[in-house]
Symmetry: C2
Subunit: 330 residues, 2 copies
DNA sequence: TTGTAAGCGTTATCAT
DNA sequence: ATGATAACGCTTACAA
């Protein structure tokens, strides 16, 4: 590996001059610049990032925490983040928290040791009190996640509107018995409160009372979706429509419904959330709420980088738009 | 951030002694060791990885190159790699090549600058001559990818057997007109030659001649699958079965077949490759070849780490088993 | 415009 | 068993 000294030696100049060329400092004669550039090329020279980092200069790596990368939502988000980061000459250190608090803390420590310059968290497991102390070592931002107690940038979509659109769509179609799944609890705080609010709001506007036996909490996977459908059919009073928290749950619901001999949407209408490729694979194709995943990742990187460059981002709390995509499950 | 000097100062010992404690050197009195450990704890000391790296010591990051992380196959693979790496105290720097040769070279350079200690490539864009020179900076291994000209470890599944099983399954069901999709070319070398071989072998054994108009090359996505199905229906002589190169292509084929009013498997039987969650979402559920993705990622990390520790891995070229999963599309 | 030298946090070598 | 010191590759005062 060629070092800066090799370049200096080859050109007969000092390390400082070479460094200045590398870092695009002003006040360098054109001829020496050319000379240095030629030498760097010849030697295949690349600055050593560890040295730069140690010296307190250049930042180049951002960390991204996802719960599980195999979840398509997060893999799409990561794809967008990596791409945007790369365009800005940043690399991405990727972690799965696996919904494990200790692992999350381990990652946060990487900020402390400057392994990463900043952190994008797409989900958080610990509470804010645990995370807050790490913010003094580097910027941490939330993307997709929401923490009401935190005061750091959060990139998110208008979840309330998403849930509202879904419920409203059902109501417009004449449904009044509308079930609801959430990944968290049906409570007034927590990350799902916005969606809960949207759902409630639409019902309220239409004068439809809430039926607690149609609310399903802590649902995430395809299997959960199947289970929900099984539970629904056991109810005395069956809902005619269900708004699931994700396309995955929706998939489970639809698969199970068909297995039970039910017709979608005639017997039960289904709306998902995310608009993943699987939405098109399902039969009937899934009506769902589209999240602007690509935009979310892009925005997250932009905000983080502007924080790293000490310039305040224009908007630290952008709220990205959601959209109802009507297909055949409603 | 506390440094080693802070610890030295607090204990009244030298940096050397502290360093020895950190690195578990022998010949340290129990009492000083305790003393140092206590101080490190108090200060919340963490060794600075950049410094260690610069000093040519400790390694802790592996790089993983995938084509597109949003592709479920690769997101599952990455999930497994990250998890295994974490269990071994390694971090994962993740890159998407986006099938771009230059970006790939950029990543390879990270090995040169010791940003990553080793590299797992799950697909390669450049040819071996371009990649080979980088192997002198650190171990590079292939996982899922195969390069006949290379002599580095390759973790892969028995692709030949996978394709053979699929074709054989069709034949056993009485099919003789069996179409085939590949991500590459239908040639004697290249990454898909093993699958091509398996397909041909099964046909040959059954005395079925190859029909070139049923061979589709360079197929990858759902859209490609739809296109293939459209092309098939235009043929004078229609195949009755198709072995696609991935579950994604299979999804496209099935979706399009239904749109064209064809019944799967009655009018056309379909087999995918991978066994992704989407295989269960499709209607009919997809018969497919299951790859042991989790095992692949795990094995890849194990081999890479043993290379990093200079110990030869027991088996540098493991070939993992595939399996036919019969569902309703055949 | 260019060069000299100090220092970032570690660990290895050489003393003691 | 412990300590002093140099070196890893880089950037940045400061000097010239």
């Amino acid at each position: 590996m060629a070092t800066i000294s090799d370049v200096a030696k080859l050109t007969g100049l000092s390390k400082s001059t070479v460094s200045r060329v590398i870092n695009n400092h002003p006040y360098i004669s054109k001829e020496k610049r050319k000379l240095v550039e030629k030498a760097m090329d010849e030697l295949g020279y690349q600055p050593n990032p560890s040295a730069r980092r140690l010296r307190g200069q250049l930042t180049s790596t951002i960390g991204v925490v996802v719960p599980r990368i195999a979840n398509p939502f997060f893999s799409y988000l990561l794809a967008s983040i990596e791409q945007t980061a790369f365009q800005n000459n940043y690399q991405v250190l990727m972690f799965q928290s696996n919904e494990n608090k200790e692992k999350e803390v381990y990652f946060l420590n990487l900020l402390k040791t400057k392994q990463v310059d900043g952190l994008i968290m797409t989900a958080v497991e610990n509470d804010w009190n645990t995370i807050e102390p790490f913010t003094k070592y580097g910027p941490i931002i939330l993307c997709n996640e929401y923490l009401s107690s935190a005061s750091i940038p959060m990139i998110r979509v208008n979840q309330t509107k998403g849930a509202y659109l879904a419920a409203k769509h059902f109501i417009d179609q004449g449904h009044t018995k509308i079930a609801y799944c959430t990944g968290g609890l049906f409570a007034d705080d927590g990350k799902d409160k916005d969606r809960n609010k949207g759902y409630q709001q639409a019902l309220e506007e239409a004068g439809i009372p809430l039926n607690p036996s149609w609310i399903f909490i802590n649902k995430h996977s395809i299997e959960d979706g199947k289970k929900v459908m099984k539970d629904i059919i056991e109810l005395k009073d069956n809902p005619t429509a269900i708004f699931t928290g994700s396309d995955e749950i929706a998939a489970g619901v639809i698969i199970q419904a068909k297995e039970l001999g039910l017709k979608v949407p005639e017997d039960i209408a289904v709306i998902g959330f995310d608009d993943q490729p699987s939405a098109e694979m399902l039969d009937p194709k899934l009506t769902t709420i589209r999240q602007p995943i690509e935009q979310m990742g892009q925005k997250a990187v932009e905000v983080l980088l502007s924080l790293l460059n000490k310039s305040e981002p224009e908007n630290k709390m952008p709220e990205l738009p959601v959209e109802l995509v009507v297909r055949n499950s409603t």
